[in-house]
Symmetry: C2
Subunit: 355 residues, 2 copies
């Protein structure tokens, strides 16, 4: 079968021939339909993140997949069922995090990630997976099923943010997403359409006209240009916000988030920056957290429950939004177009089989 | 009646004569028994924190009080009932935070604090208070009732820390308190005796012999000397901990806390440092929060529910611990001894009337 693989840091993704996998006991065989591309894929391609499986020199890419069960192989799944696979998988040996269904809370070394760290991804005509890691999705949502994984990331982030504020009466009325990439825009839509937050903002550094600014404004949110309004100036220029969702990977945003928060607010961080030393007013940072009961959380990955919530969320996102978000779905004959990075591209996917 | 007041930043606490207050409708008159002294009092005395009530030039000190109802004045309280007053009070006008019983979540300007910011404290022979801010305490706990307010601070901090980890299965096995002052030691005792955390540590910078180190070790905790083991080195020297409680006010500890945390851990900050610029590895700080799902929270003050929990907690603290913690209770004739700061002093109180 055909797969899309890369030698991280040493080349472009290319089509390779791989044997079609055979499902082991407890596993199903899934025919891949579509696989989304995101910033993590680009980091893996550049060799900045991720790890090829032991004994291989290339990594099959792809962690945002939707497929259809080809061979249920005795599991509870049904053939023809549309499914989305989760990403983290159990490495060799026992593992308490996987045992209790919380692989997203496992520390480094206690997991592999399909398509990212130590395990091949889903950009292949077929993949196998333990049935427990395959989340059913209705047929009508299957064409956008590659959005379930990124939505699940924000399901977890929002769940943790809300939990952190659950010891008191917290009703967020305003929120900002830092970053106008596809994850940022999906999260902004969740804030607008699912969480019903009154006033939403999205920070980017793009000139108009720009398709992501159009998406932001179509959602009813306010575009904040970080070149004109750095994060610490958001309260003066707009308002101090109850919730900050950081999806830039820009390290200064972790500290600056606290300046942008209203009293009792929470900032949730998702970016993964490289080491970078810089000067901060650490006294102000500390004091502001304390005197205004603020919280700063990091979250990564997501578990099956978040994928299930994400399927519900996907069903609630307006068609107009998802139409504008997904700027291209490309067949294997032009798969490289899905990896193009320019300002007209928001979200792309590779199609392995028609739905 | 006699009261202990100070002109912040311009003198030492002194006994002043003040009129005995008359309870307004809904208020009770309380005869003061004992009032604790803490670091906030010293900051108020030095003029670094707090604010004299409008129209006065001195502030009556004291926010950690226990008293007995002298005149219930038609409220639900009973005369002879031992009570502990809460600290934050409603300023002029309506206030959603007080309306819902969460004055601890009010931002600056939306509260006054008795004995600290804009309202006289409890270091007087009598004080009045709305009955809703007087928390009953059993007679046998009354001699230590001045510990209820500091314990309530940690009740809130722990409640918020636990809430922040409630979206997953979190069972903290190790915790460190940064700071060996009286609040730090009380919190360490709560970790040991109430939360039943397996392995506890307390960071200070004292040479042996030292009474606070004795208290730490009597509790079964490990003393960590910050001069030998700075906070970021705690994981290598001891272990990465699930919970960090910062009670030093040392601004670098906010950022360093993240280095000391185990994956999925939470750091709760209580200190209130002054502005201070310094260099950090902001990329590492951000990345570590994200990749290991860590959380950093600030908390301040406490509400009535935390005072009620604190009464229960006080009942559970070993007598040996409280005996060692309280190094002096002084009558009005030698009240200045309660304000002495040296390494042999842990916790002191002024006694206004015998119990």
């Amino acid at each position: 079968m055909k797969a899309i693989a890369v030698e991280p840091g040493a080349g472009e993704p290319a089509i390779v021939e791989r044997p079609r996998p055979e499902p082991a006991a407890g596993e199903a065989l899934v025919r891949t339909l579509r696989v989304g591309v995101d910033g993590t894929d680009h980091e893996v391609i550049a060799g900045h993140h991720g790890e090829v499986p032991a004994g291989d020199d290339r990594l099959v890419l792809g962690h945002e997949a939707v497929g259809v069960v080809e061979d249920a192989n005795g599991t509870d799944l049904e053939e023809g069922q549309y499914v989305v696979p989760t990403v983290r998988r159990r490495p060799e040996g026992t593992n308490e995090y996987f045992d209790r269904g919380e692989p997203d809370m496992a520390p480094e070394g206690k997991y592999v990630e399909r398509g990212i760290v130590g395990a091949h991804g889903f950009m292949a005509e077929y993949f196998t997976s333990p049935a427990e890691y395959l989340v059913p999705i209705p047929e009508d949502l299957a064409p956008l099923g590659f959005l379930v994984e990124p939505i699940s990331i924000s399901e977890k982030a929002i769940e943790h943010a809300v939990a952190s504020r659950s010891a008191f009466d917290w009703e967020p009325e305003s929120a900002i997403v830092l970053g106008n990439g596809s994850l940022g825009l999906v999260t902004l839509a969740m804030f607008e359409e699912v969480l019903d937050i009154d006033r939403t903002y999205c920070l980017g550094r793009r000139d108009r006209p720009d398709p992501s600014i159009d998406v932001i404004e179509d959602l009813g949110a306010t575009y904040v240009d970080s070149r004109e309004t750095p994060v610490p100036e958001i309260p003066d220029e707009y308002e101090a916000v109850d919730l900050v969702y950081e999806a830039t990977g820009y390290a200064k945003h972790a500290v600056e988030t606290v300046d942008a928060l209203a009293p009792n607010g929470v900032g949730v961080l998702l970016g993964v920056p490289e080491p970078w030393e810089f000067d901060i007013d650490g006294g102000k940072f500390h004091r502001e957290l304390v005197l205004h009961n603020k919280a700063l959380l990091g979250t990564v990955n997501s578990h099956r429950g978040h994928f299930e919530s994400a399927v519900d969320t996907l069903a609630q996102l307006p068609e107009r939004f998802t139409d504008d978000l997904v700027t291209g779905v490309y067949g294997l004959d032009e798969f490289h177009r899905a990896f193009t990075e320019d300002d007209d591209v928001i979200k792309t996917a590779v199609e392995f089989a028609a739905i």
